[in-house]
Subunit: 252 residues, 2 copies
Amino acid sequence: MKRTVQAALALYLDRLLLRSTLSGEERDAILALPAKAAEIEVEYDFVRVGDRLTHACLIVDGLVGRFAQTRNGNRGIVALYLPGDMADLHSVVLPHVSWALHAMTRSTILRVPHSALRDLTERYPAIATAFWRDCMIDAAILAQWVVNIGRKDAVARVAHLLCEIATRYAAIGLLEDGRFAFPITQANLADAVGLTPVHLNRVLKRLKDERIAAKDQDSVMVFDWDRLASIGEFDTAYLHIENAPGPLALTA
Amino acid sequence: MKRTVQAALALYLDRLLLRSTLSGEERDAILALPAKAAEIEVEYDFVRVGDRLTHACLIVDGLVGRFAQTRNGNRGIVALYLPGDMADLHSVVLPHVSWALHAMTRSTILRVPHSALRDLTERYPAIATAFWRDCMIDAAILAQWVVNIGRKDAVARVAHLLCEIATRYAAIGLLEDGRFAFPITQANLADAVGLTPVHLNRVLKRLKDERIAAKDQDSVMVFDWDRLASIGEFDTAYLHIENAPGPLALTA
DNA sequence: CGCATACTTGAAATAGTTCAAAAGACGTGG
DNA sequence: CCACGTCTTTTGAACTATTTCAAGTATGCG
């Protein structure tokens, strides 16, 4: 168990190092974070609206969605978290949350106490910056989603989201031959792009029929990256990944 | 001139203190930040897509929009900044920006060098946390916009945005008798809620006809806060303002 | 006073929703 | 290993919120 915790923290460290530079001592401090692994059942909300959090959750394995709810009961997905993401790092500075974290598959997470994270930020300014930056990547994605949902038609929205997820998987080495794991139901995917499940289904059909990309139960196969990116008006810049994998990584 | 710079920094300090606690020394450090005031002409992009920033911009006076552009040339507004907001504080950790800052009215801003801000974060962990938290408020708003645009109909979207802006103005003491300054064109407002200018116009007309709220050239008058908030499914929680002013402040 | 920009209104077109029902996948227990 | 119930996906048809196109009316500026 100790071993898996170490490995999971290493995953997060890798992610931080994608965008920040940390000294040996600082890296060790990250790896030495106290943390408790937990298995989350599928369809379970492990953070609920209104909670006051004391821990941040690192996704080790699985797929997690951040859900917001409107008064009328409409669910909206505001963010998707993949392995290596610290889904609610921002709760360190804003512990009172108004959204839920929902496991879309059986997931493994690591709960890291806020106190330990705060402690690191106080001792190592570079770590504070790295955490802050990590949160800002999340915010950059959020901003992109606003444009995506607010200013593009249904096909473009879906194409863009697929490109984003593909690129994020690629960054953690989980994209192979144009295929990546994406075990999300069509209903949830619809919530993430602001569409009806029915219409989302038709959009997916079209992408499949035109041999651009196909989604099945738990993965997505991209046939034509260029067309997908072009339809989705996708530009990796906002993800701030150094060598963002484009078509090359997909066909490799 | 020195005097206005001081006053402007005090404005920002006030904003930080809304959500963070800082010692006397830390407050003084904020007030002692080097900064250069600048007047921005109306309709001018003072930060452009692709820029690599060296300064953050504090809005002292005016109304500023953060614009993103899709490949097809559609503009989308991703955030609105009011006096007291440090519009691009996040550029301290992510200097390479993929969006523009656009002055919607003649505005006064204060340019604060990243170097000075970074310096403070290294010397005072509490300031680093305060900055980080300030950015996360921005992100919380972004998340709210995603749900707003993705899961509500036109009237609700507009109503929600008006409630948000009203509440944010109230927090800086610029809401009087239910009226607040909002010098934004209908075309820009449409970009902020993901609607067509034409349809936005009809929505505004409806809000006016039903005596809920009326927008003119440069301000908004709210007649019926309860109905507006209810239509927009508005809940202040996400803004993390301690005593969020609701109907009381409006009728006061 | 005249030009430019913003706002307003109408009518036709359409993207996306809603409702409804069938078909396919999946796990469970017999 | 099959039968059953449940959940997800797929498809059709009618409907509607929003867009698009187009023209007219204000409003502000030089």
